[in-house]
């Protein structure tokens, strides 16, 4: 039974990601190849990032005789990646899955349901871990050797560390569920909690360079402090020195903590998933109802959907936090920024061009439209039965994206104008290019979702986080921003005026936005009507 459930769980992950659940046709081989290529691309991008990071640590640590600290750091990084990558999925899969009650009504032991969900999450964690561990191991091999016992330890650690990370994810997910279950504004609370969590995470990664410098410069002192935390030391010691006793101790900790958590969850799983925590009952009092136009009503529907879903807000709107945060940082750290850019040869028009292109990259992270069709889910019939042209339904999705993204992008552009004081052409480009790109990226998200919808999700996370359309939109957006930026930065920077280049990019982007707009008005409407 466990095997069957696990198969279903993995099929659900795969189908949710590729959007094959809602396809009436048999998936083509080409689609499978595209999916595989995307995965290879993502793995490659992550792998290169971690390889660069660990390459800078391997040799200095080996030279300083702190090999164990290198592997401890590998373990900690992999642990952080697994924890951050799985905590929200754990919350959705374990505590909020819509099929919990259906499965519980069948002759299936609750332990098997829990076990299948846990196994799928562990597998996901293992993938996250390998993204970090494989490049780190390669980086080490380039600098120093590793004994057979060290290799053995590394393999065992790769297998047991996801247990510890999963245990922590379950604990935090359970606490978040518990904390947000009874509050009235659950979405807001969850969003704030998640933002704080992600803020801490991004703060850590923004400081990585500082940490590396400190690690390399004062490895011994840090080693002393980390060594006091026994499991962290055991982790590094078992790989670097091939110490099998340390390995056994670490494995015991991972297995023990995970077993304890499974025991606790198994005891309370049934109660957790079947208890209706109840809402504070709100008594309806008649009042004047606000009348809106159809267009406003449709836009309001999109905002209401967004406001009700922390997952949607966080996964699709995180780029806005970066844009506004970046603009604020630019204004606050104006002098330092100007000095740093001047050293790299960027000032005035060139700096404005750089900012415009960076802003396009960041706007490419704003993905409100990419899951917006999938989120219609089983209530799609409402949108389809309304006396409203389909184009208006789609336009409401585009407009929500514009209402939220354009002001933030404009704020950042204006901050750039204030900081860099570019000439008229560059100033116009700095304002117009990111604005045009915002329109284009919103259209791209909607097109991607119309082509790869997933209407049969069992929790919203599948639609907003794991959908093929979300990944595709992000990659296409970044690809376009890079295609616009790289020719200038690599070839034309010294030969062409930054302002002129920005205006050229703006014209091309506006044309692309127009073409996608026409596609949505014709093919997009037909696709939506055929869902």
């Amino acid at each position: 039974m466990l095997k069957t459930l696990l198969k279903i769980r993995l099929a659900s992950f795969y189908a949710g990601f590729t959007g094959m659940q809602s396809r009436k046709k048999k998936p083509s081989a080409g689609r499978g190849v595209l999916f595989a290529l995307l995965m290879v691309y993502c793995a490659g991008a992550f792998g290169l990032m971690f390889f660069g990071f660990f390459s800078s640590l391997a040799e200095p640590f080996y030279g300083a005789g702190l090999a164990w600290l290198y592997f401890s750091f590998l373990g900690l990084t992999a642990f952080a990646l697994m924890f951050v990558g799985s905590v929200f999925t754990t919350k959705a899969q374990l505590f909020e899955a819509k099929d919990n009650e259906l499965l519980l009504s069948m002759p299936i032991r609750p332990g098997d349901i829990l076990g299948s969900r846990m196994a799928a999450l562990l597998l996901m964690n293992l993938v996250f871990e390998l993204l970090c561990a494989v490049p780190a191991a390669i980086a080490w091999l380039q600098a120093a050797p590793l004994s057979a016992a060290g290799w053995f330890s590394l393999v065992v650690i790769v297998l047991v560390l996801p247990l510890l990370a999963q245990a922590f994810s379950c604990l935090v997910a359970w606490l978040v569920s518990l904390m947000t279950a009874r509050v009235r504004n659950k979405s807001l609370m969850t969003t704030l909690f998640s933002l704080a969590f992600l803020g801490a995470y991004f703060y850590f990664f923004s400081q990585v360079n500082t940490y590396i410098t400190q690690l390399v410069a004062s490895g011994s002192a840090i080693a002393g402090r980390l060594g006091a935390v026994a499991p962290v030391y055991w982790l590094g010691d078992s790989v670097a020195n091939g110490n099998l006793i340390s390995l056994a101790l670490l494995a015991a900790v991972c297995l023990g903590v995970f077993a304890l958590l499974c025991w606790l969850l198994a005891r309370s799983f049934l109660r957790i998933v079947t208890t209706k925590r109840g809402f504070a009952r709100i008594k309806y009092e008649e009042k004047t109802l606000r009348v809106s136009s159809r267009r406003s009503a449709l836009l309001g529907r999109e905002f209401a959907r967004l406001g009700s879903s922390p997952g949607y807000m966080l996964n699709s709107g995180l780029g806005l936090v970066f844009i506004v945060g970046g603009a604020a940082a630019m204004l606050i750290k104006r002098a330092e920024l100007l000095t740093a850019l001047a050293q790299l040869g960027f000032a005035g028009d060139r700096a404005a061009a750089l900012l415009a292109l960076a802003l396009c990259m960041t706007a490419g992270l704003v993905l409100f439209t990419a899951p917006s069709v999938s989120l219609e889910g089983k209530s799609l019939w409402i949108a389809r039965s309304m006396p409203v042209p389909t184009r208006e339904v789609l336009r409401a999705k585009q407009n929500m994206n514009l209402w939220l993204t354009l002001p933030c992008v404009l704020f950042c552009s204006l901050a750039g104008l204030f900081v860099f004081r570019p000439g008229p052409a560059a100033a116009a480009g700095l304002v117009l290019l990111p604005a045009a790109f915002t329109v284009l990226s919103g259209n791209i998200g909607l097109i991607a979702n119309l082509r790869h919808p997933n209407l049969s999700w069992i929790n919203e996370t599948q639609a907003v986080k794991q959908g093929m359309s979300v990944l595709l939109s992000m990659l296409v957006n970044w690809g376009l921003a890079l295609a616009a930026g790289l020719p200038y930065l690599l070839l034309l920077e010294s030969r062409m005026d930054g302002g002129l280049y920005l205006l050229l990019c703006t014209a091309v982007t506006a044309l692309a936005a127009l073409l996608t707009e026409r596609w949505l008005g014709r093919r997009g409407v037909l696709l939506f009507e055929s869902l």
């Binding site: 109802l289 209401a304 019939w381 039965s385 006396p387």
Partner: protein
Amino acid sequence: MLRIEHLTKTYGEKKAVDDLSLHILPGEIYGFIGHNGAGKTTTIKACCGILNFDAGEIYVDGLSVREKPVECKSRLAYIPDNPDLYEFLSGIKYLNFIADVFGVTQADREARIKKYADTFDLTGDLAQPISSYSHGMKQKLAVISALLHEPKLIIMDEPFVGLDPTAAYQLKSIMREHCQRGGAIFFSTHVLEVAEKLCDKVAIIKNGRLITSGTMEEVRGDQSLEDVFLELEGEAHA
């Protein structure tokens, strides 16, 4: 009010609806009966402009669903077999949204929401999020939302599923009143006793093809509707 002419819809190789023709007049309650997978929901969705069809034509109040889908939709109301509503809205916000979309005036929407929410005993729960509603409450809300713009034609797919006896009785009364005012109702059901008591006309469909249709008396003769249905099903099998 609703004219279906030679409707055909295929899914891949399978003909879900095959050359179906029906005519529902103003003032009629028209029952649509068939086994599971007979093509009832496909027909209903095609009538509401939710599903594209391959051949034939459907007219609502004289307007082609294919050519004037928006105008047709503004004249009809659809209640699906499973009331999957917007769980992120409260009951009142959902009703207000539907009223906005159908362009119902403020006075009318307030009066109708009060009338129908009181009828279905849902007024006290309107401020609650729909996600907290039971299946029956969602079904009641779907019915109320369908009545907000006073449609000429109401198309319902298994409307009595999930309704408690009182709500089912109220719905039947509303259906009758609606038709007395000149409206029309086309609905599918598996509850033959309800169809027998409520419908002026009935159509029986099997594997996408119309087996029989007409007034209740014409179809039923001296037998019960259940006997006729089972007999026709048996003949179709033979």
